[in-house]
Amino acid sequence: MTVDVDSTAATPAVGPAPGEVVAPPVAPRAPGGWWARSRGTLFNKFLLPFCVFALFVGGWYLVSGLTLTKQQRFMLPLPHDVIRVGFLDWSNFKVILEALRYTVIVTFIGLAISMVLGVLAAVLMSQAQWIESSLYPWAVVLQTVPILALTPVLSFFFGFALTSRTIVCVIIAFFPIVSNTLFGLQSVDRGMHELFTLHHTGRLTRLWKLQLPAALPAMFSGFRVAAGLSVIGAIVGEFFFKQGNAGLGTNLSVYSSRLEGERLWATTLVASLLGIAVFVFFGWLSRRVVGRWYQAKRG
């Protein structure tokens, strides 16, 4: 909504000026027909992704049904077989749901730790150039180090259960939060900084009243990327550290070694849905928190 007091106050008369052509009061029609007008909502948001999904399922049937023989089909079972075995057979579906519960727990513990550590690290780096220079490269290294190489040392110190899984999760989800938050903290308008400088604002007040709120949109886009990565981290963690409760990753590793294609793909689908769910959740949360004053091109 844009309210312009300056232009309305300038014209005391409310009616049209003499000679002005008054357009009939109809809603303005966007060019391009009905689909262009409703495109922002129904078409873009649901129909297009659904078409892609339909194409994807079609492709799946093609590959599975036409190129694989019956004996090879354990690699990529037909979609309806995946649904029948994985989801409609309650004894199988119960196992998936149980595993999902543990994966969700690891995902959210890992994500919460990443959010706290990531924001703290970014705030620390934003305080002085030398801190940023000394820490940032190592945040990059943490992101790029192969998890596989870390598994022996993690299992030695933290065992083969929840702790190690969570650490893998944090290692994977940490970096996007640091880099996005740091970017947000550092891209505050110079004029606003000067306004705070003029009034002798201390570091903490500046951080709290200027930098952190200004960084929120960037921080949230970091959270969203990290949330998706956290799911991956949890599953990778469960894949390597199999003690304790079985998560989706634990089961994936079991099904894959037993060549149980249907359950393998059903579990994979659930894992993807979990990733989508946390991604959508953080998109929603971001719009709730900063949407009123910050409009990104796409939420």
Partner: protein, 252 residues
């Protein structure tokens, strides 16, 4: 010109530059030996070609930049600074933006709320307290910025081309309102602009600065009394003054 405003004597100036120079690290000389003074309750405008160091003058006066040479005296407990942009915090409502500086200066809450209400009223934004900056026009945003500084009731006000980005109609209306605030509060104002009309309309004295390195080259006294009716803009005397300032600007 029947009446001239003399530069104030050293002891009474609200703001005084004596031989102020500014050389930046890259070697650019922005100011050389700038001398000027603003008396309490006086409105002084500086015009000059772009890049003549007008803004540097204000940055030094406010303490955002340090002078390389010379002396700057500011006799005021608080200095208001209005930037080229409104520099509003986009996540704060009009009310919360106007409150900001009082908050930073830790003003008593009751006093703060009263002053915020008065300031919003003064700039004509009553009823818009809950709006966000993005919901306002450029002119309204600048009003919020003015109100934000007014809350601290500064004795010295620095304006860095605050209306430069606004359209002519909005700019003239804001000029009228700025003068209303000036008459009500009688702060000492140093106003930077590149609009000759704006300079003559607002101020008691117009200082003309030369291009880089900047220094004050000429001074034109404006004899109109405050309050000034918007119509004086169309008087012959006003046009003659604008002509004079423009002439100096061409010469520098």
């Amino acid at each position: 010109m029947t009446m001239t405003t003399e530069p104030p004597p050293a002891t009474t100036a609200a703001l005084r530059f004596s031989g102020v120079s500014k050389k930046f690290k890259d070697g650019t000389v922005a100011l050389t030996g700038a001398d000027l003074a603003v008396a309490p309750g006086e409105f002084v405008t500086v015009v000059g070609p772009s890049g003549c160091g007008k803004s540097t003058l204000l940055r030094i006066a406010s303490g955002l930049d340090k002078a390389s040479d010379g002396e700057v005296d500011v006799h005021s407990k608080s200095v208001g600074y209005v930037f080229q942009d409104a520099t509003l915090l986009p996540w704060r409502t009009v009310w919360d933006n106007v409150r900001l500086l009082a908050e930073l200066e830790r003003m008593d809450k009751k006093e703060r709320d009263r002053r915020v209400r008065d300031a919003i009223d003064l700039v004509g934004l009553t009823g818009f307290e809950k709006h966000l900056p993005q919901e306002l026009s450029g002119g309204m945003r600048m009003r919020v910025s003015l109100a934000r500084s007014m809350v601290l009731a500064p004795d010295v006000f620095l304006f860095d081309e605050p209306f430069g980005a606004l359209d002519e109609i909005t700019r003239e209306r804001l000029n009228d309102e700025l003068l209303r605030m000036f008459i009500q509060s009688r702060f000492a104002a140093l106003f930077i602009t590149h609009s000759v009309q704006e300079a003559v309309f607002l101020s008691g004295r117009v200082l003309v600065m030369s291009g880089r390195p900047g220094r004050v080259k000429a001074e034109v006294a404006v004899p109109f009394d405050y309050p000034r009716a918007p119509e004086i803009r169309y008087s012959a005397e006003f046009a003659a003054l604008c002509g004079e300032v423009s002439q100096y600007l061409r010469d520098v």
